[in-house]
Symmetry: C2
Subunit: 469 residues, 2 copies
């Protein structure tokens, strides 16, 4: 029984009240919502009419509004920030954590973003400009620059005081891990706040920190950061420069967002389309047509070859029209078995269970699997023809047993072919630097449909020559 | 350019050395691997021959071996624990965190697990038995009982000392959040270790803790825990009893595992098969046949109706054999557009962007989208027939324009039908308490293939009556 997710009851219950308040007494909105998590405030903003969002966010205290922005849908956030006077927008984003601020500014009009950045306080401006350099799908694009580092020759009490001072100064993020640096300022170790608390007071940080630190360079792909976090059960991944200096930290909440976004992209590609890059509920009509239409046209052009294949066997069809009856059955069997194989392999690759060099191991496995599955379905197909004939439901003519055999054997071949194409296509795509998730069920089906028809008619020629053909 | 994940270079480099050491000098294994993360040790164990795994784990210090077990593939872990003498197995699992221990015991033979539990120290035994009560896909099954709670009337310094004492006593998990309890021991608030450090020394915990705590009951579905973690950027979700008492905590590393497992299940179901429930690389041959074969047979039986549909129009096929040439093209167009729609909708549901009541909004959107996409492909289909005729590649006869029109209009109808079926099937499944992810591309294609054929022949009857039919 599946879990019914995300009914957002808090926001749904509150939204009407807040709309009333915005009309009658906007100054009461802040007090009315002060117990709400910023994520819930963002849900409220997404539920109320679009033209009320700015009024709602403006009715919140600046810090709360900034926290809400971090959870808000991209398009609403962009609209809101672009609509504010530059100085107000700068004041608003300066309240955000550095990584959220950079993300928000990345989405809005470049000129507007530059104007806003130019009005930020000097330190925040430098930080933001540094973060904006990185591509958003890299470790640098994900990291925050608010982390805690201490010199490794500090003793534990000094370090604890330093951390406490930072915490009192209002540093919000990434204090779970404390990074130790050597004399040159390079990352030399890591310890958790808990480990710092547990350490003997006289010890130095170097004594208690672990020196094996999993880290990434700023240009690392966001999927590498996600894999590292998942593999090592991390709550933060340090980002270090080529020279070994700590530049920032990617926190686990951003990693979860990455995992979900990557998964959304994979599922959409596996459905045979381009990744939408925005929620189904907010993409425009023509945006949707473009994301789906391009692949649909490519697949259609591929499927046009089925018409050519059929034309190639028109003479056989003319002599044995009965063959045409099973065409959809045969081609779809191959598509289905290919869909299974490609989905499994794409996912196993995404999880790192399979890498490029494993293709032959998979091939060795899919051949017997495909043949076995094909045999099971082939028997069903054979039985269907014989049964309909014997029960008198349909008359396939005097050679019905040969027709049944043709259908059965073709299904074996086409299902085995489907497994093979479905399992090898993701490897082939990766081999050429493409995304294996593009090996969608429709893509596999298109390849298998054309070749499956050829198999079917060749089997028919072999078995029916001299009788029907 | 996709990221090539998970090459596991550390483990791959080390495995041969460790095999040599195990043969020549097993006592050196511990020192040789002491810098490795337990996740890497688990990778090594998965790379070496199966019969060497027990020797490898036994060569590690007990605490390291226990940590490695938490990352090890289920089947290897189960083999290892079942192969150990009971007292050694008990000593080993007693070193694990309570949640990992319960997970490990859940997988092994029930009688063996009971024997091991009976030899655990009293406190660990009670804890383990409590955790083993919960289903593994619930919050109770995910939670650890190692968390830190303090009375809310404690002052900040007392609380800090209490946390420090716990940390020094070796509590390993879930110290990132500190939970405040009221006089009756019920969960009353939460604060982070950082916030505790930052708090003014004279304050009480009640002064500084946040009182709005997102929590779940032990029977909550693991997907609810995952959604809450993702929505609120949590690193731990408290699990409370009906009476409000804190029973345990689900940590973010386990939530990431849940998210990845759920995604794997969804992808496999969307490929038209049962979820494997174990890695592609480790499932048995017949296990694989079963997981794929059942759905494949069901889909095949569904596809048999295409043969019946074709039989129903055999007279038309006989009169206009040319119609059969486009059968694969037409049915596959519907399948492709259905595959896109169903993938998008399943994913939007999993992310909570769409809920059950949104079905009509989706329907209102998919009708124009499907018709537009269908029109684009229909024009391509029309053009293909006319072009081949005009270029002299194939002779469709004197009525080729009517045939082109039949193909074009059928594609419009079938593509629109595919979008509609693909987008509504996930809603229908959820409505009946089934998993929307079972609305796989092959499932949708099967429905659309049969109805698509009917559309095609009805359009043909309408347009070709009096000429070809």
């Amino acid at each position: 029984m599946p879990f019914d997710p995300h009914e957002k009851p808090v926001a749904a219950l509150l939204a009407p009240d807040i709309l009333d308040l915005l009309e009658e007494n906007p100054s009461a909105v802040a007090a009315e919502t002060e117990e709400l998590h910023p994520a819930d405030l963002a849900d409220v903003a997404e539920l109320i009419p679009r033209e009320q969002v700015a009024a709602f966010l403006s009715a919140l205290p600046a810090e709360r509004a900034a926290a809400t922005l971090a959870y808000l849908a991209e398009d609403l956030r962009t609209d809101f920030l672009e609509g504010l006077p530059t100085s107000q927008a700068a004041a608003m984003v300066s309240q955000m954590t550095p990584d959220d601020r950079a993300d928000a500014l990345e989405d809005i009009d470049e000129q507007v973003a530059e104007d806003i950045v130019s009005e930020l306080p000097a330190e925040a401006r430098a930080e933001t400009e540094r973060l904006l350099q990185y591509e958003s799908d890299t470790a640098g694009g994900l990291m925050t620059t608010e982390f805690v580092s201490v010199a490794q020759d500090m003793n534990v009490d000094e370090a604890l005081n330093a951390v406490r001072a930072l915490a009192r100064a209002g540093r919000r993020e990434a204090t779970y891990a404390i990074y130790a640096t050597d004399k040159e300022g390079r990352l030399a170790g890591v310890l958790s706040l808990r480990e710092l608390l547990a350490a003997a007071p006289g010890a130095t940080i170097a004594d208690v920190a672990r020196t094996e630190v999993a880290s990434v360079v700023p240009s690392a792909d966001r999927q590498e950061v996600a894999r590292m976090t998942a593999d090592y059960d991390l709550i933060a991944v340090p980002v270090v420069s080529e020279s070994g200096h700590l530049m920032g930290v990617v926190t686990v909440d951003d990693v979860i967002d990455v995992i979900q976004q990557e998964q959304t992209e994979d599922v959409q590609k596996m459905g045979g389309m381009e990744a939408l890059d925005e929620p189904y509920t907010s993409i425009s009509f023509w945006g949707m047509i473009r994301k789906r239409g391009v692949w649909l046209c490519l697949l259609f052009v591929g499927e046009l070859f089925t018409a050519s294949a059929m034309q190639g066997f028109e003479e056989e069809l003319r002599r044995a029209l009965v063959l045409s009856l099973f065409v959809p059955l045969i081609v779809s069997s191959g598509g289905n078995s290919g869909s299974q194989a490609t989905s499994m392999i794409i996912r196993a690759m995404a999880l790192g269970e399979l890498k490029l060099g494993d293709w032959w191991r998979v091939a060795l496995r899919e051949v017997p699997t495909g043949l076995t599955l094909g045999a099971i379905l082939g028997i069903l197909g054979f039985a269907r023809v014989v049964l309909w004939q014997e029960l008198g439901i349909w008359d396939y003519g005097p050679h019905f047993q040969l027709i049944a055999l043709t259908v059965g054997l073709s299904v074996v071949g086409v299902v085995a072919l489907g497994s093979m194409v479905g399992s090898m296509l993701p490897f082939a795509l990766r081999r050429f630097g493409l995304d294996p998730a593009s090996a969608s069920a429709p893509f596999v089906a298109t390849i298998v449909d054309v070749t499956g028809l050829v198999i079917y008619f060749l089997v028919a020629l072999l078995l029916l020559r001299g009788s029907l053909l």
